[in-house]
Amino acid sequence: MSDNTGFGRRRFVKTLAAGSAVGLAGCGLAPGSGTATDSGGDGGDGGSNAEIPSLTEFRGSGTLASGRPAPEGTSIQDLPDLSGDLNLYIGGGEGGIYYQFVEMLQEIYPEFTVFSSDAGSASLAQTIVDEVEAGAAQADVFWSIDASSLGYVANNDAYEPMPDEAVESVPSDFRGDDNAWVGVAGRARSVPYNTDELSESDIPDKVADFPGTDAFQDAMGWAPTYGAFKSFVTAMRLQRGADATQQWLESMQEAGIVRRGNEYVVSQQVADGTLSAGFANHYYAMRVLNQRPEAPIDLAFTSGDAGALVNVAGALAVQGTEKADLVADFVQHLLSAEAQEFFATVSFAYPMIPGVQPVGGLPTVDELNPPEIDLAELANLQPTLELMREAGVL
């Protein structure tokens, strides 16, 4: 079972050595040193034997990561040390990047070991519910890439509520009722547009106005087979009803929307000028910009509707865990300034705490205006697929 360590540890030590020159210079900027850290209660035991790497170790090194302000929020330094074993179910998607952070935590705390098992978020949610019902829960924590599988576990009462102090730094929209789960990284729906062709004022404030916008005729792209797009349509259906949603899909097609295989391709073609605009998750444009900083692409967000949906990856304590305290401490580490900076600069995710800026000059999460829907209901995909099929989109 030593698979988690060994190789990983050596690599990390090497990274530390290579980064030490920068690390020393960055010491003064270590998060927490200049910010209020009254949350976290006991103030942690900063004088413990744990060595917290400098901020640069948590920060991506690409163009988008440079020149960022020091993140505000609670530093790992001010959190209690982690020690003991934790069983973690980790969902797919960006799970690999999240797991990279878990490896960093294990480097920081030699007494702390995570045994993980990753699979699809929805499968794991089902497994957790089955296990809890039989009184044989295996995992202490579930870290899922989408709110709907967290909602599934919560709705089946297979969770352990988390203490307020562990989750209160996250806006309530991105927390489950009864502190069942808390978001740790977000993905926003967005409208990538080509800045040579359009300006921000050309992008309507409502998704409903897109089919009638002349600038988009035969020049906009989407990837309807993509999971995030289906969530977007589900959000629209929840907010506006099935008929209006189907009508919207049909009129977008009449307006000549171009179909692509995935949203990364949509975003690239917007940057190339092949398309003037598109529908995509926000981080695809960031990935394009990180590779081509001069690319003429920017993001717009609609307001109060599905076009500004924010879905989150989040964590949940599994009912029956005997390590509720360790889970709460672990979750606080995921919400620390360093962790949020890591998710923001490595996977270009939306930070969940207001003190950390998203990359690329995007609005912060509290400046977005997502639709008022229960994220857990995004799990109900079936009616969405049916109406997409009826509209001839799938």
Binding site: F7, G96, N380
Partner: protein, 534 residues
């Protein structure tokens, strides 16, 4: 002619009558234990009550039925169209570098089809790397056509291998007799060779059809809604009963496929006692033998060069992922893969042996049903099986589940349920080819029944056992969904690491484990092919 008539009445390596009954019971019991976890499907589907019928005849359900069956048909026909000519070419025709081509043509079996699908979907398309390299915009390869092409490319080796085995043990004197009786070369093939190798083709086609029906990754990447997708999305949507009902419907389709195969193989016309008559009639291609190499070369290029090229390209260029992220690969993942696959291979042989021996030698309905029941496991999608196993063990005995999750026991059990039928098939075929007079001779010379089995039958069926073990090992190495859901915490294998890399978008980092996977599986393929020479 029945097996008994053919093999003779003295199926002598079997124990005495009383033991015989117990032995039959054991084989039946083993077969039933393997499919028991699927019992939850019946319970879940029963919960639907009267709605069940409405669901079954809903237009959506019917569309999936038609689509899935069509895919199975196209892939199976495609597999026969590629596998049989290649087998004839490498066994009967003298194309140059025969050995090399044989290994190369069999190798796609070592590549998980979802990796092939992933490579194909990434390589094609108007802005894909292939279009860029060639300077011509290529259409995207997806949907039904994409799934059919990819599945055909990665499953035809089943038909190639089984057809090849039949051709190698073909009684050449029969073909020569036909030729002397003025049959043309083609007519001799059609009238003599084909009927003899048909059960071999059917056995391979059965594996291809069931693989296609159960595959999850390929239709998923190709965005084609077949049973596996449909069941999974219903399951996700909390419609467990509907998902179970669909699984039952899928198993019914499996039943139809098994019956069709049974109709072709039922008279066991491929099962004759081997007289060691090798060296099947040579097919002289003359000058055509050089152009004929284009066929294996083309197939190998499509099935092997494309994924290797794409993964290599990403390894060098980093792939379209997050270049800042880094997954830590450990060689222990390779060892873990080998370990669980070896355990599965050994366990599969232990389970398959009694079932296969029983069905090859006994001539009862029960024994033939017993031999076919396990195919249900092979046709069950890994994801359905994993979910069923979790639900079943948790309902029946939570401590058993916990024990199974703490160790690799559940993973290995799932592999055995899914892949053991491949071992039954090859052991059964080799058992039917044992010349019973040898066993009789051993008995006459004073050996006990078990003694005769040990001294005569066992050495003769050993190649079948090794082939079966190699097939189970190979397919276990590739299995993804059951591995993901049933392995212990902290236990990663090559495919779980590949999965993580792909899900994260770090495609380049999947290259090394994918390559290791193909090399290790390729080695077991070598074992498989050397068995033919014994």
């Amino acid at each position: 002619m029945s097996v008994r008539e053919r093999v003779g009445p003295a199926s002598d390596f079997l124990p005495e009558d009383g033991v015989d009954a117990a032995y039959a019971a054991l084989a039946t019991l083993l077969a039933l234990v393997l499919v028991a976890p699927l019992a939850w499907l019946l319970v879940d589907a029963a919960g639907l009550g009267g709605e069940a019928l409405d669901f079954l005849v809903a237009s959506e359900t019917l569309a999936v039925l038609v689509r899935s069956v069509a895919l199975v048909a196209v892939v199976t026909v495609g597999g026969v169209a590629i596998g049989v000519p290649l087998a004839v070419l490498t066994v009967q025709a003298s194309i140059p570098f025969r050995r090399f081509w044989t290994v190369l043509i069999a190798l796609p079996l070592a590549v998980p089809s979802y990796l092939g699908a992933f490579a194909a979907i990434s390589a094609f398309g108007p802005s894909g790397p292939l279009s860029e390299a060639l300077g011509v915009p290529l259409p995207a390869l997806e949907g039904f056509v994409g799934a059919a092409v990819v599945l055909t490319l990665y499953t035809y080796p089943y038909i190639f291998l089984t057809t090849r085995a039949s051709l190698l043990s073909l009684d050449a004197s029969l073909v020569e007799a036909a030729r002397t009786l003025n049959c043309g070369r083609l007519a001799a093939f059609r009238r003599v060779t084909l009927p003899q190798i048909l059960p071999g083709i059917a056995a391979g086609a059965l594996l291809v059809a069931l693989y296609t029906l159960a595959d999850f990754g390929t239709p998923n990447f190709m965005n084609l809604e077949v049973y596996t997708q449909f069941i999974y999305s219903r399951h996700r949507a909390g419609m467990g009963g509907y998902a179970a009902l669909l699984s039952l419907q899928l198993l019914a389709v499996t039943g139809v496929i098994l019956a069709a195969e049974s109709a072709i193989g039922a008279d066991d016309s491929g099962a004759y006692a081997s007289r060691g008559n090798r060296g099947a009639a040579e097919l002289d291609l003359g000058a055509w033998r050089y152009p004929a190499m284009a066929l294996p070369a083309l197939v190998a290029a499509a099935a092997l060069a494309l994924p290797i090229g794409i993964f290599g390209f990403w390894l060098l260029r980093g792939g379209p992922g997050y270049e800042l992220a880094q997954l830590t690969f450990s060689w222990s993942y390779g060892w873990n893969s080998v370990k669980v696959s070896l355990l599965a291979a050994v366990a599969s042989i232990l389970v398959a042996l009694p079932i296969a021996l029983r069905s090859a030698t006994a001539d009862s309905k029960l024994s033939s049903v017993t031999a076919r029941i396990p195919y249900v496991g092979y046709a069950t999608p890994g994801i359905v099986l994993a979910i069923a196993l979790i639900a079943f063990t948790l309902e029946a005995a939570p401590p058993l589940y916990e024990l199974g999750r703490d160790t690799v026991a559940l993973v290995v059990f799932a592999y055995v349920v899914r892949f053991m039928p491949q071992a039954i098939g090859s052991i059964r075929t080799s058992t039917m080819q044992v010349d019973d007079r040898l066993v009789e001779a051993a008995r006459t010379l004073g050996r006990s029944r078990f003694g005769a089995f040990r001294a005569v039958t066992f050495p003769l069926i050993l190649p079948g056992i090794v082939t079966g073990a190699a097939l189970v090992f190979l397919t276990s190495m590739k299995e993804l969904p059951a591995t993901l859901l049933l392995r212990p915490f902290g236990f990663d294998t090559l495919v779980t690491f590949i999965w993580r890399a792909e899900e994260t978008g770090l495609y380049g980092q999947a290259a090394i484990p994918a390559f290791v996977l193909v090399v290790v599986s390729g080695l077991s393929m070598a074992v498989l092919l050397t068995q033919e020479d014994n």
